[in-house]
């Protein structure tokens, strides 16, 4: 990969290193498993680079297979027998001792499908006739259905954002994005009325603290909301506040009570950002976000430089997905948007997430290698 973007890999390596370090500080056992997953992820990364070193664009021929594959992966956790429900969201698959979240890989397959499909149909789509959107809306609608079935709101939001961004890149029509957002708001309002789970999330987001005891949905008793539904979010906000400007220093943060119980549940997956913000402070957390911004900027540059439509769409989709995922989880932890559980790319503990992100990185490097080679050799 002599022409591949020289910055993406070091940035990803830094993020991975920060992640493993933080996980080690929180749960040494998890850090060992995370390192194993990083090795597996790097193996996937290397295989992808070797297999597609000549021309990754042949995957475009199998775009419908990718679309179907992403649906199958998304639907896997809903199957009885292998599906696992953890924390009210049914997005785990357990086969023997192996446990993984297929949604992460489904995201990448969906991006490949969308890139291939939109490149094919973008001229027709740009005319805005509804029937041309048929197959697209079908697959996308199915994906949404599966996501709502499994209560995985973060992923639903992510896939929808990726879908809109890629349609925009393909057609250049902002009106499609506006229409999509309007549809999303309508859908979100409808879902809010119907689904209890979503109402809770929004209430927790808007009013995490109460002064009077309210009904606690988990226990069915009266309790202050900060001791009940918004417990996790509130403790995470305290954790970030405790970090202050400079942070407590690595290893000096407070994450357990005096009896040794963890204060914040799921600290090293969904809430790892609040752990980093406490130990490295505002300065360190801002540095982390800067690294993400640089990664996204480089990814967008790959999309800009790519010559053919498929590569452009692929790079733009992968980068936008990466950016949106970071925004959804960091925004959720910081109470900018309602919290939905999703991993922080490269940093959070989680095997499927690490592997998926390394595959994503391989995709970006392949596109950038081809684009830069064409620019240089001409």
């Amino acid at each position: 990969m002599p022409y591949a973007d020289p910055y993406l890999l070091p940035l990803a390596a830094l993020l991975t290193a920060i992640g493993v370090t933080t996980i080690y500080r929180l749960e040494p056992d998890d850090a060992f498993r995370q390192s194993l997953w990083v090795v597996i992820g790097v193996a996937f990364f290397a295989v992808a680079l070797v297999v597609y070193r000549h021309d990754y664009r042949r995957v475009e021929r199998y775009k419908y297979l990718f679309g179907l594959g992403s649906l199958v992966l998304l639907a896997l956790p809903a199957l009885p027998g292998i599906g696992q429900t953890i924390n009210g969201a049914r997005l785990w698959v357990k086969v023997g001792p192996l446990q993984f979240q297929p949604g992460e890989l489904a995201k990448i397959l969906l991006i490949v499908f969308l890139a291939g499909y939109l490149r094919d149909k973008r001229e027709v789509l740009a005319q805005g006739r509804l029937k041309d959107f048929g197959p697209l809306l079908l697959i996308w609608g199915a994906a949404m259905l599966v996501l709502f079935q499994t209560n995985d709101l973060g992923s639903a939001l992510l896939q929808f954002g990726i879908f809109l961004a890629m349609v925009y890149v393909a057609t250049g029509r902002a009106s499609f994005v506006a229409a999509g957002l309007a549809l999303f708001l309508l859908g979100a309002a409808a879902v809010y009325q119907v689904v209890d789970h979503v109402q809770q999330r929004v209430t927790i987001w808007l009013q995490p603290w109460t002064e009077e005891p309210v009904l606690c949905a988990q226990t069915g008793e009266q309790a202050l909301r900060q001791d009940c539904g918004s417990f996790q979010l509130v403790k995470s906000l305290y954790s970030i506040g405790n970090g202050g400007f400079g942070g407590t220093g690595l290893g000096q943060g407070t994450f357990t009570t005096t009896t040794g119980d963890p204060i914040i549940p799921y600290l090293n997956t969904d809430f790892i950002y609040s752990a980093i913000a406490q130990e490295l402070g505002l300065v360190g957390a801002a540095a982390l976000l800067l690294v993400y911004m640089l990664f996204v900027a480089r990814g967008m540059r790959v999309a800009i430089r790519a010559d053919d439509g498929f590569s452009k769409l692929l790079a733009a989709g992968l980068t936008f997905g990466f950016a949106l995922q970071t925004f959804i989880i960091v925004g959720g932890v910081l109470r900018v948007i309602p919290l939905t559980g999703i991993t922080l790319p490269f940093v959070s503990y989680g095997g499927s997430s690490v592997v998926a992100n390394f595959v994503l990185l391989a995709g970006l490097l392949l596109v950038s290698n081809r684009a830069n080679a064409q620019h240089t050799l001409r």
Binding site: Y7, R122, G172, L280, G309
Partner: protein, 170 residues
């Protein structure tokens, strides 16, 4: 006593870590922005796929003619010339534009004694504006460097043909 020393050491390590982190970011920003300035070139490069680009045309027959909306047209602005008025803007479309002394050229340079009869050719390809020397005596120069093989032009490049200087506007 010992505790204070440990605290100080930790504080120093913490600051060092943060400083290193920012140093890394700073180096990447500096190096990457240099890359943006030199290698970037070409305002036609965009996130959005330009409608109706060649090589992706099979869908073009389905709808109306491909739109050119949003695609900026390349122009050559005369900076200095014994033959053309300074500030004159010459648009370059998809068809190649030839330049040289004599009326058979799209851009005739009558009065520029250093230009050849068939001097150079500008051409818009799908990735931008290109210039090619078509066997001139005195050469075609981009930003002072002689053009030997076809070369892609970036915004603001200065092309010299004979004694005529053009600035590339994309």
């Amino acid at each position: 006593m010992n505790g204070i020393e440990v605290d100080e050491a930790l504080l120093i390590l913490k600051i060092a870590f943060i400083v290193l982190l920012y140093l890394f970011i700073w180096r990447i920003v500096r190096s990457a922005s240099r890359d943006f300035r030199t290698g970037g070139g070409g305002a036609q490069e965009s996130m959005i796929i330009a409608p109706g680009r060649s090589g992706e045309s099979q869908a073009a027959s389905v709808g109306p003619a491909p739109q050119t909306r949003g695609r900026t047209r390349a122009r050559l602005v005369v900076l200095e010339s014994p033959a053309l008025a300074r500030g004159e803007e010459i648009p370059v479309d998809a068809a190649p534009v030839s330049i040289g002394r004599g009326g058979q050229n799209d851009i005739p340079l009558d009065g520029d004694e250093f230009s050849s009869a068939r001097h150079a050719r500008f051409e818009t390809r799908r990735d931008g504006l290109w210039v090619e020397d078509t066997g001139s005596t005195n050469g075609t120069f981009v930003n002072g460097a002689r053009v030997t093989t076809p070369r892609r032009l970036g915004r603001g490049d200065v092309v010299r043909v004979g004694q005529t200087d053009f600035r590339v506007d994309l």
